[in-house]
Amino acid sequence: MQLHKSALTKVLLNGEQVETGARTLAELVASRGLAEGAVATAINGEFVARQARAATLLAEGDKVEIVAPRQGG
């Protein structure tokens, strides 16, 4: 139980609470089945470039945004 708890990180992903086994932002994107080039990301309001995702560790309570192209005016 202790091990299980420590292996998961609670983050706010696109406004929803999720528990993830991903250690980095790159792993989180992959765990959602998203191609790395199909989305853009931010953590706690700051942009995280595609190349920086693998080195960006997730911390408890991080607010993560993952966005994709959409229609706009």
Binding site: N14, P69, G72, G73
Partner: protein, 272 residues
């Protein structure tokens, strides 16, 4: 002009890019992706606005949409719609730059939910940060002259004042101030963004000397969006041609258009 050739409007330049079509079209609110594509083609727009939204599952919606846009061969202008602070807008712009592969951004910092009017203070702040960061900023602003000056000082080389609040279709709500803005900044590309409801509104903006019109709702929510796209394309071209040709001055009293000299019966009794 060679009378045998169809009249075309002069191209204009946005951040060093020559653009022929003076209609910029939004891609939202169309009844289907197919209708959107057909409307973009019918409008002959060379620049379309796009956006970013949250994606948590592998639906592929975002990528399919972007692929459709790429097929159209148009340049994209990503917006920061919905952003309420400079920080949100700056981060959104950076995400858009990576995702869409362009340093163009339609900068929106919204200050009020009812009017969707720009927060001009936040807009100027965000424009400065983004311009320093290498962005080509297209700020969604009002007709305010001082805000325009501050945006230019912040690095903006194009301004996009509203015609009326987004989605209202009311046309040029403050024609006098918009004309002042045009007269005050003759060299800055000015695009009327938002509030255009009818082709005649767009033609009026062009007759005032605006360089282009950016619209979305009026086309996307028409009963026949493709036909409406064509209508706007025609109105914008006509308005611009009229401006380039030089509009006549209005006057208070009537002036006969038919020559007076040689009018028959002119010397009959009772006529002086």
């Amino acid at each position: 002009m060679d009378a045998a050739r169809p009249a075309t409007t002069k191209p204009f330049t946005l951040y060093g890019v020559e653009v022929s079509s003076r209609l910029l079209l939004g891609t939202a609110r169309f009844p289907s992706p197919h209708v959107m594509s057909e409307a973009v083609r019918a409008s002959r727009a060379e620049v379309v606005t796009v956006s970013l939204r949250r994606e948590t599952a592998r639906t592929g919606t975002g990528q399919r949409f972007f692929d459709l846009i790429k097929e159209l061969g148009v340049r994209v202008l990503p917006n920061t719609a919905g952003c309420r602070t400079p920080k949100e807008a700056v981060t959104t712009a950076r995400m858009a730059r990576e995702l869409f592969g362009t340093d163009w951004v339609k900068l929106e910092v919204i200050g009020n939910d009812d009017t969707l009017q720009p927060d001009l203070f936040g807009l100027v702040e965000a424009a400065g940060v983004l311009s320093t960061d290498g962005f080509r900023v297209f700020p969604y602003t009002t007709e305010d002259l001082i805000a325009a000056e501050r945006l230019i000082a912040a690095g903006c080389r194009v301004l996009m004042p509203w015609g009326a609040p987004i989605g209202t279709g009311r046309g040029l709500a403050n024609r006098y101030a918009l004309k002042s803005l045009r007269d005050y900044f003759p060299e800055v590309p000015l695009i009327i963004d938002a509030g255009i409801g009818a082709p005649s509104h767009a033609a009026e903006a062009m007759e005032l000397g605006y360089d282009a019109v950016l619209l979305n709702t009026a086309v996307a929510t028409a009963a026949d969006p493709v036909r409406m796209a064509r209508a706007f394309a025609g109105a914008i071209e006509a308005g611009r041609l009229g401006y380039e040709a030089g509009l006549m001055q209005m006057r208070d009293m009537a002036a006969p258009s038919t020559p007076v000299a040689g009018t028959p019966f002119f010397d009959l009794d009772g006529r002086q």
